[in-house]
C-alpha cells in the first residue's frame, strides 16, 4: 500500500532522511517509532505531499507522491502533530469546510459530517465552537477531518500527544475501529507503550533510516535477545570469566554486585551456562531472565542503528 525506497531529505546541510525504505501492507496499523528528530514527521509530510524528497521515491496505492499529488491527496488523510482550528467556526461547519475543500458538497457532505461526528463521539457538539472543545475533543475532530474524504490511508503524526490517559484510550478505540473498516494507518510516536497493543506492524527509525521493520511480534522476537542478570555471593570474577568465554553472550552491564548480559540462544544454553558458572566456582545466588519491553527493544535497536 505504501512503499518508500531510498527516501532522502535535506534541511539545509542536515540530512533528515538518509535513504529510508519502508513498506506498509494494506490494512496494517503501522507503528512508526523513533526518537524526536529521527525523521518521522519528515517522512509523513513527504507522504502527505507537503514536502518534496531530495531523493528516492515514495508511492501510495501505486501512485508516486511527487508525480501524482492530486490522486495521492485523495487517498491519504493526514493529521499533523501540531495543528490548530479555526476559532470562528462551529464543529459542523468545520467539517463541512474541509468536505468542500475535498470537493464533497450538499447532502453527502452533511451525511458524512454526522457519521464522522458519531464515530469520534462528538455528535452532541455539532453546534459548539471549535475553540471551546478540549484538547482531546479537538484531536478527535481533527481525526474526523482527516477521514472526511474516506481515504484509504491515514497518516497520524503523534495522535496521542498531549492527551490524558482516558482520551488516549478513546483514541485507541477509534483507531481500532478504523482498522476494522479496512484503513491502512501509520501512527508515528515516541511513546512506545501506546503502540504496543495497537499496531500490527512496526518500523523503527533512527537517524533517518529504518533499522527494523515488520510484523510487531516478529520484530520483537528478532530483537529479543534474552537478557539475564547474575548475582553472586562474594566475587563475580569466576562468573565473569565464564561469561566472557561463552559464545553468544554479550555483557551489557557490570556492577560490583551483578552482571547483566544477553544470550542469543535458547533456554538450554542458559541452563548449560549456569551449570558451567557454578562448576567454575562462582557462588551464584541469582540467575534470572529480565522482561524486555518495547522500549528496551527500541533502545537496543537504536543503539545498534547508531553504531551501524
Amino acid at each position: 500500500m505504501i512503499r518508500t525506497t531510498g527516501l532522502v531529505k535535506y534541511y539545509g546541510k542536515v540530512m533528515a532522511l538518509q535513504g529510508l525504505d519502508m513498506t506498509v501492507p494494506q490494512g496494517a496499523i503501522y507503528g512508526f517509532i523513533g526518537q524526536n528528530g529521527a525523521g518521522k514527521t519528515t517522512t509523513l509530510r513527504i507522504l502527505a505531499g507537503l514536502l518534496l524528497p531530495d531523493g528516492g521515491a515514495a508511492e501510495i496505492a501505486g501512485y508516486d507522491v511527487v508525480r501524482h499529488p492530486r490522486v495521492v491527496r485523495g487517498v491519504v488523510g493526514y493529521m499533523p502533530d501540531f495543528f490548530g482550528v479555526y476559532d470562528d467556526l462551529r464543529v459542523g461547519e468545520y467539517l463541512l469546510f474541509y468536505a468542500a475543500a475535498y470537493g464533497i458538497r450538499g447532502q453527502r457532505a452533511a451525511r458524512l459530517r454526522d457519521d464522522l461526528l458519531e464515530l469520534v463521539e462528538l455528535g452532541d457538539k455539532r453546534e459548539a465552537f471549535v475553540d471551546t472543545l478540549s484538547r482531546g475533543m479537538q484531536q478527535r475532530l481533527c481525526l474526523a477531518r482527516s477521514l472526511i474524504h474516506d481515504p484509504q490511508v491515514l497518516l497520524l503524526d503523534e495522535p496521542a500527544s498531549g492527551l490524558d490517559p482516558l482520551a488516549r484510550v478513546e483514541m485507541r478505540e477509534i483507531l481500532k475501529e478504523l482498522c476494522r473498516l479496512g484503513k491502512t494507518i501509520i501512527i508515528s510516536s515516541h511513546i512506545l507503550s501506546e503502540l504496543a497493543d495497537l499496531c500490527t506492524h512496526i518500523g523503527m527509525v533512527t537517524a533517518g533510516r529504518i533499522v527494523r521493520e515488520g510484523l510487531l511480534h516478529e520484530v520483537l522476537a528478532a530483537a529479543h535477545r534474552r537478557n539475564f542478570i547474575v548475582r553472586c555471593y562474594g566475587s563475580l570474577a569466576p562468573a565473569l570469566a565464564v561469561l566472557e568465554a561463552w559464545p553468544g553472550v554479550e555483557i551489557i552491564n557490570t556492577t560490583e554486585e551483578q552482571v547483566e548480559f544477553s544470550l542469543s540462544d535458547g533456554p538450554a544454553q542458559a541452563a548449560a551456562l549456569l551449570k558451567e558458572m557454578i562448576s567454575s566456582g562462582a557462588a551464584v545466588i541469582h540467575f534470572a531472565e529480565t522482561q524486555q519491553s518495547l522500549e528496551d527493544t527500541f533502545l537496543l535497536l537504536a543503539r545498534e542503528g547508531g553504531e551501524a
Binding site: L52, G56, V71, G74, P80, F82, F83
Partner: protein
C-alpha cells in the same frame, strides 16, 4: 468527479515520447481535458469553501462591527466637522459647499479604504500559519490558486460591504446638489479598485512575511508610500525640469514637448480621483479652494501633472490647459486614457503580481522543484540513473 479522471494527473506531464512512446492527438486532447477539469475542480474546492468560511468568520465576533463603526464614524465625523466649518455664523450655506463636501468625503473614503484593505488582508495567509491550520488546508484537494483567490475575494467582499455602508454618508452631498451621479460612480470604482489592489498587496505580504503583525505594518508603510510617496517623488523629480504649466504648449514640436507624468503616479488613487471629482476636468487637480489642507498639499504636488482628459485638445497645434501633446507622440490612444483608467490598470497589474507571488510563496512544492524531481524520477525510471 471520477477517480479515472484524476489518474490523468497533470503533473505527470502530457503523454509524449517520454511516456508510452506513441502519442495520438486523442491522447493529448484527453490529457488536456483532464488537466482543465482538475484545474477547475481545484479552483472550486479552494475558492468556494474559503470564501464562505472567511465571510462567515469575518461577520462573527466584535471585529467586524467595530471596524464598520470606526469607518462610518470617521466619515460621519468628517462630514459634520466640515459642514460646521463651512457654514458661517449666519448659518448660510455657500453654493460650493456640496462640491467641497463631496471631494472631502471621497478622498476620505478612499484613503480609509487604502489603509483598511491591506490591514484586513495582511492576516489572511499568515493567520493560517500562526493558527497551524495551513498544512491541513494544503493536503486537501483545493488548489493554491483557489485558496488565494478565496482569501482575496473574501477581504474584497468585506470592502464592498464597507463601501455600500458608506453610501448613505456619501448621499449627504445630494442635499446640496452639484455632483453628477456618474462622477460618484467613478469615485466608487476608484474606491473599489483601491481596495482590490492594496488588498492583494496585503495578501502577498501576508504570504511572504509569515507573521500577521509584520505583514500589517509593512503593508501599511508600502501603501503610504504608494499613495503619497509616489506623488512626492514625482513632484520632486519633475520640479526641476518642467516650466510652470499654465503656458500654452506647442504641439508637434518635440523639442518643446513637456515630459508627462511618470507612470508611477498612477499607483496612487489620488491621481485617479482628479476626473472623479466634478468641476476638475478642465483644471487638473486643483483642490486648493476646496479642501484647504489636503487640497493645497495635493495641488502643490500635482500642479505639474494636470492629469485630466487630454485627447483632442491639441489638434489645432496648440494645447491649452491639461494637454500633454508630447507625452506619447506615437500612441495617441494610450495618451487618451483617463487617469482613473490608468490607475485601474496599475492596480490590475498589482493584483496579478501579488496573487501570483502569494500562490508561489505558499506552495509547499514549488513548481520548479517538482519539475526537477519529476525529471530526475523519469530519468531514473528510464535509464536507471541513481538519484
Amino acid at each position: 468527479m471520477s477517480r479515472e479522471r484524476d489518474r490523468a494527473d497533470h503533473t505527470a506531464g502530457p503523454p509524449g515520447p517520454a511516456g508510452s512512446g506513441q502519442t495520438t492527438r486523442g491522447d493529448r486532447r484527453e490529457w488536456l481535458k483532464a488537466f482543465l477539469w482538475n484545474q477547475w475542480e481545484g479552483l472550486r474546492n479552494g475558492l468556494v469553501p474559503m470564501l464562505g468560511k472567511e465571510m462567515r468568520g469575518r461577520t462573527r465576533g466584535l471585529r467586524s462591527p467595530l471596524l464598520l463603526s470606526f469607518f462610518l464614524g470617521l466619515m460621519s465625523a468628517g462630514t459634520v466637522a466640515f459642514l460646521w466649518l463651512m457654514t458661517d455664523r449666519t448659518s448660510q450655506i455657500m453654493p460650493q459647499v456640496g462640491l467641497n463636501l463631496y471631494s472631502l468625503l471621497v478622498l476620505g473614503m478612499i484613503l480609509l479604504l487604502a489603509f483598511i484593505a491591506p490591514a484586513i488582508a495582511a492576516g489572511a495567509i499568515s493567520g493560517e500559519r500562526e493558527r497551524r491550520t495551513y498544512d491541513l488546508l494544503l493536503v486537501t484537494r483545493a488548489s493554491l490558486t483557489g485558496i488565494v483567490l478565496g482569501k482575496w475575494l473574501a477581504s474584497v467582499a468585506y470592502l464592498l460591504f464597507l463601501v455600500l455602508a458608506a453610501l448613505p454618508v456619501l448621499a449627504v452631498v445630494f442635499l446640496f446638489g452639484g455632483v453628477p451621479l456618474a462622477n460618484m460612480g467613478m469615485a466608487l470604482v476608484v474606491a473599489l479598485t483601491t481596495g482590490l489592489g492594496y488588498g492583494a498587496l496585503g495578501l502577498a505580504l501576508s504570504a511572504i512575511l509569515r507573521r500577521s503583525q509584520a505583514a500589517t505594518i509593512v503593508s501599511l508603510v508600502l501603501v503610504f508610500m504608494l499613495v503619497f510617496g509616489s506623488l512626492v517623488v514625482a513632484g520632486v523629480v519633475s520640479a526641476g525640469r518642467q516650466p510652470a504649466g499654465d503656458m500654452p504648449v506647442p504641439a508637434g514640436e518635440p523639442w518643446q514637448s513637456v515630459p508627462g507624468p511618470p507612470w508611477y503616479v498612477y499607483l496612487s488613487p489620488l491621481v485617479a480621483l482628479s476626473p472623479a471629482l466634478p468641476g476638475m476636468e478642465n483644471e487638473g487637480l486643483s483642490m486648493s479652494g476646496r479642501i484647504p489642507l489636503v487640497g493645497t498639499l495635493l495641488n502643490e504636488i500635482l500642479r505639474q501633472f494636470r492629469t485630466g482628459p487630454e485627447a483632442g485638445t491639441y489638434v489645432y497645434g496648440y494645447a491649452y490647459g491639461p494637454g500633454y501633446p508630447g507625452v506619447y507622440p506615437g500612441a495617441p490612444g494610450r495618451a487618451g486614457l483617463p487617469s482613473w483608467a490608468r490607475f485601474a490598470l496599475c492596480q490590475g497589474i498589482l493584483v496579478v503580481i501579488s496573487l501570483v507571488v502569494s500562490v508561489l510563496v505558499i506552495a509547499p512544492r514549488k513548481p520548479w522543484s517538482v519539475w526537477l524531481v519529476s525529471r530526475r524520477a523519469r530519468a531514473r525510471g528510464q535509464g536507471g540513473i541513481p538519484l
